[in-house]
């Protein structure tokens, strides 16, 4: 790779959150109810990688774990500027919680000869944990910065980023190899060209099963067997009991009532 940065982008294929339906009786997601897309935050991660590639030169490898069908997410990543895609797919990876997922992904990164920077989306829209990025960093023994809102500089040795924590923004220099997770504010992901999109439909995706990571990992720590947490039950969120007093008709009178309520609550004056 020489002087070029080796960038790894972790992506996840997720169901379209606005369309997906949940079957509360079986506790399962009806995946057929929605198209599968790249997790939107991961598009920001990919765009960040491609921008660094354009600025200073880099090879961008997209890695995903999921069913065989997730190859389409990696092809999409290639259309958007990734140089190659690696899919971890095996029933032994399935049913992983964030710890087992992070372990498998970090093992795949270990198997690659070298890398400088790992970029992840802040979180996924289905799991919403924001845990995989930091856990991967820990497994790889590299420092990380989460919630990056701006990338100011990047070279082979370090990346300078802006991140918000609590009441403050921090401009941080992260030594490489390192990992960052990016928010939606970091960039506006571009659209792929039709030409790249069509070409990527035929792109070769590297597929690794659990055994192909056996030299760098303990395969018993993948999937369900490596997952310390289990989902005991799922249910629909319920609305709380409220007073439910409704005023209709004359807005003047309704407003009078509301003012009365606000006075009783002592928020006026």
């Amino acid at each position: 790779m020489g002087d070029q940065l080796g960038i790894i982008v972790l992506i996840k294929q997720v169901p379209d959150i606005e369309k997906v339906r949940f079957d509360f009786e079986t506790g399962r997601l009806d995946r057929s109810s929605a198209e599968a897309v790249i997790n939107p935050f991961d598009l920001n991660a990919l765009e960040a990688a491609v921008q660094i590639k354009e600025a200073v030169g880099a090879t961008v490898t997209a890695i995903s774990m999921g069913p065989k069908a997730a190859e389409s997410a990696l092809r999409d990543a290639i259309a958007r500027g990734a140089d190659r895609g690696i899919l971890l797919t095996d029933t032994r990876f399935a049913g992983a919680d964030t710890l087992a997922t992070s372990y498998a992904l970090s093992s795949a990164i270990r198997r690659l000869s070298s890398f400088d920077l790992v970029i992840c989306g802040e979180k996924t829209i289905d799991g919403d944990t924001a845990q995989v990025g930091p856990e991967v960093a820990e497994f790889l023994g590299i420092p990380h910065v989460a919630y990056v809102e701006e990338i100011l500089e990047a070279d082979k040795k370090r990346i300078i980023v802006k991140s918000r924590m609590g009441r403050n923004y921090y401009v941080l220099a992260l030594r490489l190899p390192g990992l960052i997770t990016v928010t939606k504010d970091v960039n506006a992901p571009r659209l792929p060209t039709l030409r790249d999109k069509i070409r990527s439909r035929r792109a070769e995706i590297t597929v690794w099963d659990a055994d192909s990571l056996s030299e760098v990992a303990d395969t018993r720590l993948f999937g369900v067997s490596g997952s310390p947490t289990t989902v005991a039950r799922v249910y629909a969120p319920h609305a709380e009991k409220r007073k439910g007093m409704i005023f209709r008709g004359n807005p003047e009178e309704a407003a009078e009532k509301i003012v009365g309520v606000l006075k009783d609550l002592r928020v006026v004056g």
Partner: protein, 463 residues
């Protein structure tokens, strides 16, 4: 109104209940305007009552009473029109069917039965829930079914499945006398005499009040993508449109847009337009049963684009990204509105789009005015915007408008493709259609509404 408002209101309170009869002006403000640019919108009358019935029966009683008392009735929908068509320009009744918003989807027959007050958003949602699709998208999703039909709405996605008229399979309407008529139905073939339903579609609330409609739905397409084709030269963009249609690919939509307005619209909603190359652009929405089908159509379009000197086409594939594009496109109007005097709606045969564009250029040069143009190129329908200059309405605006109208008609087109006549275009109708045609229209109006209580002062001049 000859009678006192209080007296009339009391009658309607008896029909629909006191809470749904609104007489205080301050509570009806939003019913007194539509989306017409402020400087062109006619003012609302002084003495008005707003009625919100909940059933066809109530609508019938309201119209019967209004007809007996000779009180004008102005039916309103979502008030998203652009020609002042629903503005209550005379003392009378504003009739909003917003409480009548039920939608039932018949999945087997691919039809929805919707009450007139249901919104476009409701219909899209109900269809989606049933695994079906309502392709048409005339901009603002707050538009109501009754309004969409009364104005025969068009909009972006009309290339493949047509305009509102092509979707309406049945109507329940209330005549000025209070009689309720059921027209059409979920049938593909129906030759029982004159087609009154088709006459009512697009009649702008002047013949009757639509209370319910049977609307055709389509199966969801397996795959949909949006392409953006950038061009340095707008005539190349325009020439691409018929070439695409001749290639056998029928997109859902072909929109002509210019980068300047797109950037304005994107800025207006705090976004960025994703394609910065090319002065003129085509937005093409494709749908099909499978990804392979859609991508093979993409390849055809890619070739046609290249032959017509397009730059590198960009593709949006996820729902999020496609909605973003449509959202920015849909906001061109809102972004320009504050500075706008009027939005014209010329439609010409597709082969003459280039000529229309050239003629607009010429007018723009001749009068030294900024005339932003975009529109539904796939339907030959372009929106030309007359803008203020330095915050003022330019003095020569009338001449500019007339010249554009004349060019449209000279090229075999019409002065309105989808917005209708409403209030703003009344003066033009007799210039562009024959006396005979106009008098037939007037006779039809008289037969339906002899006392001229339904949306008076629209389409035809008063009196």
């Amino acid at each position: 109104m000859t009678r006192k408002i209080d007296e009339v209101a009391e009658i309607f309170r008896g029909i629909i209940g006191p809470e749904w009869v609104i007489t205080e002006r301050v509570y009806m403000e939003s019913y007194l305007r539509d989306e017409t640019p402020d400087v062109s919108r006619p003012p609302a009358a002084e003495n008005l009552i707003l009625l919100k019935p909940s059933s066809t029966g109530e609508v019938s009683e309201i119209l019967k009473a209004a007809n007996e008392m000779r009180i004008p009735v102005f039916p309103v929908g979502g008030r998203t029109g652009l020609v002042g068509g629903c503005i209550p320009t005379e003392d009378g009744i504003i009739l909003s069917l917003e409480r009548m918003n039920r939608i039932d989807v018949d999945e087997e027959n691919l039809m929805a039965t919707a009450e007139a007050g249901a919104t476009l958003a409701d219909l899209i949602g109900a269809a989606d829930e049933a695994g079906l699709f309502f392709p048409l998208h005339p901009g603002d999703e707050g538009a109501q079914i009754g309004g969409l039909i009364s104005t025969n709405a068009g909009g972006v996605r009309a290339v493949k499945y047509g305009v509102m008229r092509n979707y309406v399979k049945g109507l329940e309407v209330v005549l000025a006398t209070g009689d309720v008529l059921n027209l059409g139905g979920p049938l593909i073939k129906n030759n029982m005499g004159y087609d009154l339903m088709d006459l009512i579609i697009g009649s702008e609330g002047t013949l009757c009040v639509i209370t319910r409609a049977v609307i055709k739905l389509y199966p969801k397409s397996g795959c949909s993508v949006t392409l953006i084709l950038p061009y340095d030269d707008r005539s190349d963009a325009i020439r691409t449109v018929p070439s695409i249609l001749r290639s056998g690919v029928i997109p859902l939509a072909i929109e002509y847009v210019e980068i300047k307005e797109l950037n304005k619209a994107a800025e207006h909603i705090g976004d960025e337009w994703p394609v910065q190359s090319g002065k003129a652009q085509l937005i093409i929405i494709l749908s099909g049963r499978s990804e392979d089908e859609v991508y093979s159509a993409c390849e055809v379009i890619s070739e046609v684009a290249e032959e017509n000197n397009a730059g590198e086409p960009i593709i949006a594939e996820t729902r999020d990204e496609q909605e973003r594009i449509l959202r920015i496109r849909s906001n061109i109007y809102t972004a320009l509105k504050a500075e706008m005097v009027d939005i014209l709606d010329i439609t010409v045969p597709m082969s003459r789009l280039g000529d229309l564009m050239n003629s607009i250029d010429e007018t723009s040069r001749k009068y030294g005015v900024y005339l932003p143009v975009y529109g539904h190129a796939g339907d030959g329908n372009l929106h030309i915007h007359l803008m203020k200059e330095g915050g003022e309405v330019p003095e020569n605006i009338g001449e500019v408008k007339r010249e554009i109208y004349d060019a449209g008609v000279r090229l075999g087109g019409v002065i309105t493709g989808e917005h209708g006549i409403g209030h703003l275009r009344i003066g033009e109708l007799d210039r562009f259609i024959s006396d005979k045609e106009l008098s037939l229209m007037r006779e039809i109006k008289r037969i339906f509404d002899p006392n001229n209580i339904l949306n008076p002062g629209k389409i035809f001049p008063r009196g």
